[in-house]
């Protein structure tokens, strides 16, 4: 689709932008940043913080960049200009006169719009006397809902949060009350900010007025390492920034991707990393003849698994089952393993969950499965049965006979299908002579396992996931796994080598490359070239 492009000159640099773009967005294309607080690309434009004032040739007054749309060629804009600088300095002064300046105890410090613009556009001294500051007594820490706390003294009245609840979550809990310098943000009487997306208002708050109960006082933000990642709470596949300090994840923040989740993610998704605090598996283990679990080396474990699977394949049945949390690459290796064992009992698992809706400008993103990568497993060749009965049938087939062996690739806390974790199902699984569980946490499944392999969490590895839109997206490794723990791909490659000594791929990128040769949708794409916004795969007919 060809778009109507117009040219605009910003500080002498001419760029082409789509007609109707506003100046704040257009200036980024020219490599100039126009400071702003109230403007947000996904919210309505109100032009009320007045921080984005710019000079436009032919206009008598300064104009706000956010409300100025570029409709035709030839607009000339000055930002590097004394008048504009004076206006920016003036606005910063106005915003700060009543601000408590409590940065040392403020969670926003380090990622605060007031701090950033003060350094860039402000002045180093105050002409306002301290005793006159306006405060909101008793409103320093009001819980607006279960996830968000308001400190009204820090608020700069940009109303992004109010507009979010009106326009994105559609719940309208927040309002702008009072008038003039007493204007304040709050929930309507009898209401609570408890919609499923409520924490997004914390992300879009440019100052420290709104903080999240989860992250409050947890860590100073400058200590956090940030990596682009994906939320694994459901199959919506929201893009996130994973923020951790030395391997302890402190928070997930949504990362903008207009094709997927815009700038949003749900409150549930933000809690999912807490699962990684559960007792980790740290070494490979094997149950001995007396039924006791004993630590063994990786080599012993892999040899033992190779033996059990090969024996099972030769004498009885073998099953390879992946939970939908496995990355696409892990699922592909499992598929190759199943190929080597020539077993028909292979598959992914489908587990429906509560519907999670992210309202986006593309018509909304819906996650409806607990497992984030069921579609990726299917793409890799591990079909998931369409119903619980079929799953049970597949399992029954896999553990049929005296010498059966089962490899369960268990990505996470929820483990395999919940149906699988029921006491009856566990009893059924025990019929298998050997159960191998590959996972990162101690679960009911590891309790009944004969051999356990500890692998990395998704924060500790890299790979791709396919979300509910059938869009394949990559995530990066945020930090290395603990000593003695390997990534799923490393473990599976090593295991596969026991069957196929000539198997060459080693890294996630290698495996992805091999897989891409099989899939026309990913033809000639390498993992490093996979765009940050992902690639849309053709949607499979159901």
């Amino acid at each position: 689709m060809s778009k109507n492009m117009v040219s605009v000159t910003i500080d002498g640099r001419t760029v082409e932008v789509e007609a109707g773009s506003n100046l704040v967005d257009a200036s980024l294309k020219a490599g100039v940043q126009i400071p702003h607080y109230c403007y947000h690309p996904k919210l309505s434009v109100v032009g009320q913080c007045r921080m984005c004032l710019v000079k436009i040739e032919g206009m008598p007054n300064l104009q706000t960049g956010c409300t100025t749309q570029i409709m035709k060629d030839g607009m000339e804009v000055r930002i590097d200009d004394d008048e504009v600088r004076a206006a920016q300095e003036g606005m910063m002064e106005f915003l700060l006169i009543n601000h408590p300046l409590d940065c040392p105890i403020c969670d926003q410090a380090g990622e605060c719009g007031l701090q950033d613009y003060s350094f860039k556009h402000g002045q180093a001294f105050s002409r306002f006397s301290y005793e006159d500051k306006r405060t909101y007594p008793g409103k320093e820490r009001i819980p607006l809902g279960p996830n968000v706390v308001l400190n009204m003294n820090r608020c700069i009245q940009c109303t992004r949060c109010v507009r979010f609840t009106e326009e994105i979550s559609g719940t309208g809990e927040l309002g702008f009350f009072q008038r003039g310098s007493r204007a304040e943000i709050g929930v309507f009487p009898g209401n609570e900010l408890d919609n499923p997306l409520s924490t997004c208002v914390v992300d879009i708050c440019p100052v420290g007025a709104l903080t999240s109960t989860q992250f409050r006082f947890a860590e100073r933000v400058w200590y956090l390492d940030k990596k682009p990642s994906l939320c694994t709470g459901c199959d919506a596949g929201c893009n996130i920034t994973l923020e951790h300090r030395r391997g302890k994840i402190q928070r997930y923040k949504p990362r903008a991707n207009d094709e997927v989740n815009d700038h949003w993610m749900c409150d549930f998704g933000r809690t999912t990393f807490q699962a990684y605090d559960e007792p980790r598996l740290s070494t490979p283990k094997r149950r001995n003849g007396r039924g006791e679990i004993r630590t063994i080396t990786w080599d012993e474990a892999l040899t033992s698994i190779h033996h059990s699977l090969a024996h099972g394949a030769a004498m009885g049945t073998v099953g390879i089952l992946a939970r939908g949390a496995a990355t696409t690459e892990e699922a592909y290796l499992l598929k190759l393993l199943a190929d080597s064992l020539e077993t028909p009992h292979r598959g992914g698992l489908r587990e429906p969950g509560p519907e999670r809706l992210i309202p986006t400008s593309n018509g909304g993103l819906v996650g409806s499965e607990i497992t984030p990568n069921r579609r990726g497993a299917e793409l890799a060749g591990l079909e998931a049965p369409s119903s619980a009965e079929r799953t049970a049938k597949m399992l029954a087939g896999a553990v049929n006979g005296a010498h059966s062996a089962l490899l369960l690739f268990d990505g996470g806390r929820a483990g395999l299908d919940n149906a699988l974790r029921s006491p009856a199902a566990l009893e059924g699984l025990r019929k298998a002579e050997t159960i191998v569980v590959v996972g990162w946490a101690t679960t009911e499944l590891t309790e009944i396992a004969d051999i356990v392999l500890p692998i990395a969490t998704h924060a500790e590895t890299e790979g791709t996931l396919v979300n509910s839109q059938n869009r394949i997206q990559k995530f990066e490794r945020a930090f290395p796994p603990p000593a003695g723990v390997r990534t799923g791909v490393e473990a599976l490659v090593d295991l596969l080598r026991k069957f196929r000594p000539d198997f060459a791929p080693k890294t996630v990128a290698d495996v992805f490359g091999l897989m891409a040769t099989e899939l026309s949708a990913l033809e000639d794409v390498s993992l490093t070239e996979l765009p940050a916004s992902g690639i849309q795969l053709p949607v499979r007919p159901q």
Binding site: T67, G90, Q157, R179
Partner: protein
């Protein structure tokens, strides 16, 4: 200057509690002839006539009314609206109140002509919440007009359909700002919208809307009956035409609403109003309501019209003339005004929310004798940051008096700073309210 009363001819000598002119009496005095004449013309010609009269908006900004009507798109699928701005809330302004409570049909006729000219079939009169009696008078008059066939499905048997409603505000000054008024009319929090788009394109309920002040619309019937030529001959020059109501208050013998051809001088107005209270000397005056710059006594000979006042850095605004005698403390007077604006700022945009409050705080400490030598310059810098940077005109309204205090009456401030107290005995110019 002998002035023929035009707008107030039926209100002459009226007191606030007198019954309004009823429909019969209004018609007997030539009322609704302007509407009849308009209905016999093409709508476009009515707009041209108003344009030719040079009638400029009486609400404060002085925008030519006919030009404003001309902005309304002719071909559109949307309904069009007229919203009459009767949210008269500026301190010292009470002219619309008199027009509405003594002669409501004059306003209804003006509204009807405007609606016919722009093709609007619904007119809202947005009246400030405190005008309870005036709203009731309007409602009674509108009912009279419906009963007499002046309003309704067949206006004066012309086939033109017009409905009129009184919408009461809730007492916010900011709802007199035209887009703030539209938000309030739509049932939302009354705070100004980003402009453009202007109300002529996207106004009430997203449809093209004309917004005119009460006095502006009251002039329209006279433009129709007496003609544009007559109208443009009244006044100082071709850019400042027509009769004008001046509200004079403060230190004056007979405060009230006086009608003059636009461009009367303060001297003439004072003469009509009996001079400065108690025969004292004039120190300063506000020519156009709380948002206009204060002028010194030396400007009392200046024609009070749009352009002459703009030349000396002030404005005609709502023509609310506030007289201050020699005993007035101007710092206190301006602080009181700044406090009003700080109280009435809607709070959405930064320079207004913070600047109006800061202004009144600084003026307050000067008045208390706690000012600092740098305060006058601080006020100038601060008002410079508020001027032209805000979302609507309210910040600039506060800048008007505050900046003029520093620029025109700096010695007053210096006196406070030097004395460490207010050198004037306390005499309120405006009544203090909580």
């Amino acid at each position: 200057m002998a002035a023929e009363a035009i707008l107030l001819r039926r209100s002459h000598g009226a007191t606030a509690l007198q019954a309004p002119v009823p429909l019969e009496a209004y018609r007997g005095d030539g009322g609704y002839e302007g509407l009849e004449k308009a209905l016999s013309m093409e709508p476009g010609d009515v707009i041209e006539e108003v344009k030719a009269s040079g009638l400029r908006g009486r609400g404060g900004a002085g925008f030519p009314a006919g030009v404003k009507w001309g902005f309304i798109p002719k071909e559109t699928d949307q309904p069009k609206y007229l919203v009459c701005n009767a949210d008269e809330s500026e301190p010292g302004t009470f002219k619309d109140r008199l027009l509405m409570e003594t002669d409501p049909h004059q306003l209804i006729e003006g509204c009807a002509i405007c609606c016919y000219a722009v093709g609007a079939h619904i007119c809202y009169i947005y009246i400030r919440g405190e005008y309870v009696r005036q709203a009731e008078i309007l409602e009674t008059a509108i009912r009279e007009a419906y009963d007499a066939g002046v309003l309704g499905d067949n206006v004066l048997k012309s086939g033109f359909k017009l409905d009129m409603r009184v919408h009461r505000g809730a007492g916010a000054y900011i709802c007199g700002e035209e887009t703030g008024m539209l938000e309030s009319l739509e049932g939302k929090r009354g705070q100004p919208r980003v402009k453009p788009p202007f109300p002529a394109i996207i106004g009430a309920f997203g449809a093209p809307t004309v917004i005119n002040n009460v006095e502006t619309l009251c002039n329209v019937p006279h433009v129709m009956t007496r003609g544009a030529q007559w109208f443009s001959d009244v006044g100082t020059d071709e850019r400042n035409t027509g009769p004008k109501l001046y509200c004079i208050s403060g230190h004056v013998e007979r405060p009230g609403v006086y009608e003059f051809p636009i461009g009367v001088t303060l001297d003439e107005l004072l003469e009509a109003a009996g001079g400065v209270l108690g025969g004292k000397a004039l120190k300063a005056f506000i020519p156009g309501g709380a948002s206009a710059a204060l002028l010194g006594a030396e400007h009392s000979h200046l024609p009070m019209d749009f352009d002459s006042l703009a030349k000396v850095g002030s404005m005609l605004g709502s023509a609310a003339v506030v007289v201050m005698d020699e005993t007035t403390c101007l710092v206190r007077a301006v602080q009181r005004l700044a406090k009003f604006f700080a109280h009435e700022s809607c709070g959405q945009c930064t320079p207004c929310r913070e600047g109006t409050n800061w202004s009144q705080l600084v003026l307050g400490r000067i008045e208390r004798g706690e000012g600092r030598p740098e305060d006058p310059d601080l006020l100038l810098r601060m008002t410079a940051n508020m001027s032209g940077t805000a979302l609507c005109a309210l910040a600039d309204a506060c800048v008007g008096p505050v900046r003029s205090l520093v620029q025109n009456f700096r010695p007053e401030i210096e006196e406070h700073l030097a004395a460490g107290r207010c050198p004037h005995p306390y005499r309120p110019v405006f009544e203090e309210t909580a």
